[in-house]
């Protein structure tokens, strides 16, 4: 990705704390709703899934697609922002 969105920059700039799942890059209103329905209400819950999949891009993308029907770009954005967040804060 050549340019990152403002959302991505905001997310990776600080610890995620109690941010809602909408704060993740690539997760908009619709996807956020679907994730919340499945119990992934906070960004850190998604982070947990991301970590339990050992930061594997392929698996995480697939999971996101299965869980909320994210398209390829949304998957990439979400993966990228979690990965970068982990690189700086984990």
């Amino acid at each position: 990705m050549s340019s990152t969105s403002q959302k991505h920059k905001d997310f990776v700039a600080e610890p995620m704390g109690e941010k809602p799942v909408f704060a993740l890059a690539g997760i908009g209103e619709a996807l956020g709703k679907r994730l919340e329905e499945k119990g992934f209400d906070k960004a850190y819950v998604v982070l947990g899934q991301f970590l339990v999949l050992k930061k594997d891009e392929e698996l995480f993308r697939e999971w996101l697609k299965d869980t909320c029907g994210a398209n390829s770009k949304q998957q990439g954005d979400c993966f990228g922002c979690l990965k970068e967040w982990c690189d700086s804060f984990l």
């Binding site: 899934q49 339990v52 999949l53 594997d56 392929e58 698996l59 697939e62 999971w63 299965d66």
Partner: protein, 309 residues
Amino acid sequence: MPVFVEDPSQFSKQRLKAELITHNVELPARESKKEVLLELYLKHVGVKPTADFSSDEEEDQVQNGNDEGDKPDPDMTDLSLLTDEQLKVKLLKYGVKAGPIVDSTRSLYEKKLQRLMEPAPEVKLNGTGDAGQYSDSEEEQDEEEEDEQEAPEQSDPETVTELDSAANQLKRSPGSGECSYADSSTCSTFSITQLVEQGSLLVAVVTASKCPLTVIGFTLEPANDLLKEMFPDAEVTPFGISATRRRPIRGAAGRPVQFKYPLPDFSPASVERKEISRRLVPLWIQTVIFLIVSSLLFLIYMTFEEFSY
């Protein structure tokens, strides 16, 4: 495909149930006898002619899904029946180091394993893998077949197999080989026996293909062998043409030859320069200065000696 009509009375109970389910027949009771099932089966399903191709396949699939006894391949067992540990081991067999397999990750790993277990596509070289979809491939095949048919007509079957044997034959009967070449003006000086002795297969093939002679038949196969020799890893494609990754050729196309280490410069000027850099002041100047200094010291010593008296 041979038509194989099975006797429904020999079906297992499970199989009968499966068949009934596939034909949308309601099962009578939870624990019903086989006879009842058989009756139902014959009534609703009967022995349908197997000409109905698609439904036949469908039946087979369902049957495979339900009937445990018919599955000899252990790899095709239902993945959802595996324990987490088994799943992990299986993934490891395919070179995937799985993370923790928990409720939220299990389905993903199952899918991944499923994908890995599918047989890998055989040949995928620049789209030749789906060559079967295009009609022109059939023509190609026909041509190839024709070639193969023509080859034995033009030369002995022995000569088709290998160039070596062909060369040996020519050696054994040099008269016939040479005179046939002498007929064509382009190859009057060409002697195949000599070339083969030199082991230059390529030249033999190239020059032989230039001559519109009876040898065309045997050049086909050796050409393939040669390619195989040159590229043993290359896979055989239906067209005989395969695209390989481009490899840069050092020194080709005007590019400078790049050595791993810089080439040492042996020109006289550079040698001199090195000499100078090693000794900033040349040797003779050093000796002269040494002499001057020592003579000065000697003079001073002498004058002091004179004054002391």
